[in-house]
Subunit: 152 residues, 2 copies
Amino acid sequence: MKSKLLLSLLAATLASSAMAQVKPEDAIKFRQSGYGFMAWNMGRIKMNVEGGNFNKEEVIKAANAIQAIANSGMGALYLPGTDKGKGWEETRAKSNIWTDKEKMGKVATDFVREANEMAKVAAGGDAAAVGNQLGKLSGTCKGCHDDFKAKR
Amino acid sequence: MKSKLLLSLLAATLASSAMAQVKPEDAIKFRQSGYGFMAWNMGRIKMNVEGGNFNKEEVIKAANAIQAIANSGMGALYLPGTDKGKGWEETRAKSNIWTDKEKMGKVATDFVREANEMAKVAAGGDAAAVGNQLGKLSGTCKGCHDDFKAKR
């Protein structure tokens, strides 16, 4: 019994060893960086759609960056206790991120799905379709922010 | 002659319209975000290689994020005049970024090449090969920082 417990503790330690080495303030900074970089790319897709000068290659690059960040496993950066603390700035993560797991899982899944779809639509190069998908993707950002990100 | 000049001015304006809408402080914040997010992913590839618990899927996610950011066209965020200014923090970009174009082009090309290779090697799942490629990729980061990023 004792050795079983030790083994299970060891397994848990190994599984989380990579994240255990990230300091809380760095975890907050890294996730703010991910969202910050996605914000640039969302903005430039929007400018391409609305600016009357659609650049397919730029939109593809932007969509690929969003997709790769969305699929990078950022959830691991929500270390216990990082609902408070300063990365680049004070975190605005609300504490229900760590408690309302069902809803959190749903908004995260929605976001990744629409980010993957955005990359596909961008590759197609149709400006109207990109605009339509950008609306869906933005909706998943907002859906999460409304519930899990504190207002300024 | 006059109309040719007007046309060429118009073309230049259109081509840069997307970036013209990004404020200098946001451009600095966005590039700091890109590097910040890559730093996380470089760190976790390193931890996977050195931690004795290589997780192929995590390494692939990390390498894909680095690759997509490297290929996103971040150079556009180096707007004229943004060698000074505050994004998340004061920029450490040195002014020779805007003047030593030949060397800057070389370090950028090196970095993108090794980031693309990192994604390929990660997909292969060989820990030793990943470690070797991480060294090459890190070298291109350092090569740029040495010349173009101010020390703290």
